[in-house]
């Protein structure tokens, strides 16, 4: 009995189409990726389930690094100028406004501010700087800074962000909170890394049922 021979089919697949798709996706992801600019102050933020993306322009950012040192970043250059001018008049600091406007962040006490501004931008690194003193309740300079910022933003909406390092101790966080409270700032946002709600928790059930998250 002769058996009908099954024709042997080749196992070779044409990879061209797959290659096309792969590189299409690749170019998409390359184009959408935004690399973090290298930051002068190294901060590892904790993660939270908050899903709202942090504003990335026109913000006022208070950074707490791992040693609890506090730095202030004002994104808007016009506001920086206003802040510098108001500090010059109220505190008589004699800040070089042009230099202050160029500085991406401040991290020095009022007495050390001029020497801070005389250092070039590349050499201002978080690990060398002292930060704005705010741990002590009697000598909380951030209160004055926030007051000046508040004045500069009078009437306009301010996106106040707080970015803290995992290892920062609570007293510096508390110092920052005190500075906010003293200036009647009750609303701010904390920068965190995104994280999914734990499976089975109430928030998880809520998001599964399609309810919108508030924060």
């Amino acid at each position: 009995m002769g058996r009908a021979k099954l024709p042997r089919k080749s196992t070779t697949i044409d990879m061209t189409a797959m290659c096309d798709v792969a590189f299409l996706l690749l170019s998409f992801f390359i184009l959408t990726t935004k690399f973090k600019p290298s930051e002068a102050i190294a901060v590892t933020t904790p993660s939270s389930v908050a899903s709202k993306v942090a504003p990335n322009k026109d913000f006022v950012l208070v950074t707490i690094d791992k040693d609890g040192k506090v730095f202030l970043t004002i994104d808007d250059k016009q506001k920086r100028e206003l802040v510098a001018n108001s500090l010059n008049t109220t505190k008589n600091l004699g800040i070089d406004v042009a230099k202050f406007k160029a500085a991406s962040f401040v991290g020095a006490s009022f007495s050390g501010l001029n020497s801070f501004l005389s250092v070039s931008e590349e050499n201002r690194k978080g690990d060398v700087l002292k930060g704005i003193p705010c741990k002590d309740s009697t000598d909380n300079e951030l209160v004055v800074w926030m007051q000046a910022v508040n004045e500069a933003y009078a009437g306009a909406k301010m996106d106040l962000l707080l970015k803290g390092d995992n290892l920062a101790k609570y007293p510096s966080f508390k110092g920052v909170l005190t500075a906010f409270k003293k200036n009647n700032i009750q609303k701010f946002q904390m920068v965190t890394n995104p994280e999914n709600a734990p499976v089975g928790s109430e928030l998880y059930k809520k998001s599964m049922s399609g309810e919108k998250q508030e924060n």
Binding site: M18, L25, P46, A50, S51, K52, A54, G164, Y170, F173
Partner: protein
């Protein structure tokens, strides 16, 4: 897998006729696809990582007179205290004089603070008087000590949104509580 086709066509010509070598134009694309997907995975991971999120926090107004402040019912109050080295403690209602209701918990795993919050929530629901708002009385008071770090505070605030606790407050710690935490922290280090 795709392979280079080198057979070069199998028709036979007459004897003595030399085959003109026909090179196939087909190239093996497998390594290229591999590389492509490797890069895709890389870029997928980097895109998600560079998008920080923001968590909202509203601070209470300190200037409000004590009489006008919201009072918490003792039965619905849960106080969470954070100590050094990721230690966490809690007590329900008011702290007893002998500190017998001062208990310890952990951030995750066994005896986690999430279970404590959920248990409290269930309890508040069971004794609720208003059926429309059964969780009205639940208030979580968060008291970070000077030994805990920023991550601990964020973790607890996050726990509030994970467990959908509507009322919580970040409050300054009392001296007596701070001493209790210090004592418990020290005893926890020892075996």
């Amino acid at each position: 897998m795709a392979e280079l086709d080198t057979s070069g066509g199998g028709h036979k010509k007459g004897p003595g006729v030399k085959k003109g070598k026909k090179l196939s134009t087909r190239v093996d694309l497998t390594p290229m696809v591999d590389l492509g997907f490797l890069l895709i995975t890389f870029f997928i991971f980097t895109t998600t990582m560079s998008q920080p999120t923001a968590m909202k926090l509203l601070l209470p107004d300190d200037k409000v007179k004590p009489e006008e402040q919201n009072k918490a019912k003792e039965s619905g109050a849960l106080t969470i205290l954070m100590g050094a080295d990721n230690h966490i403690y809690y007590y329900e209602g008011q702290l007893k004089n002998d500190a017998s209701n001062f208990l310890s918990a952990s951030y995750n795993g066994e005896n986690s603070i999430r279970d404590v919050i959920l248990k409290k929530k269930a309890y508040v629901r069971s004794i609720a008087t208003d059926p429309n708002d059964p969780e009205h009385d639940l208030v979580v008071v968060i008291k970070p000590s000077q030994y805990c770090n920023y991550k601990n505070v964020i973790d607890i605030l996050d726990e509030m949104s994970i467990n959908v606790v509507k009322k919580f407050a970040l409050v300054d710690i009392f001296d007596i509580e701070e001493q209790l935490i210090k004592k418990s922290d020290e005893s926890a280090v020892k075996p």
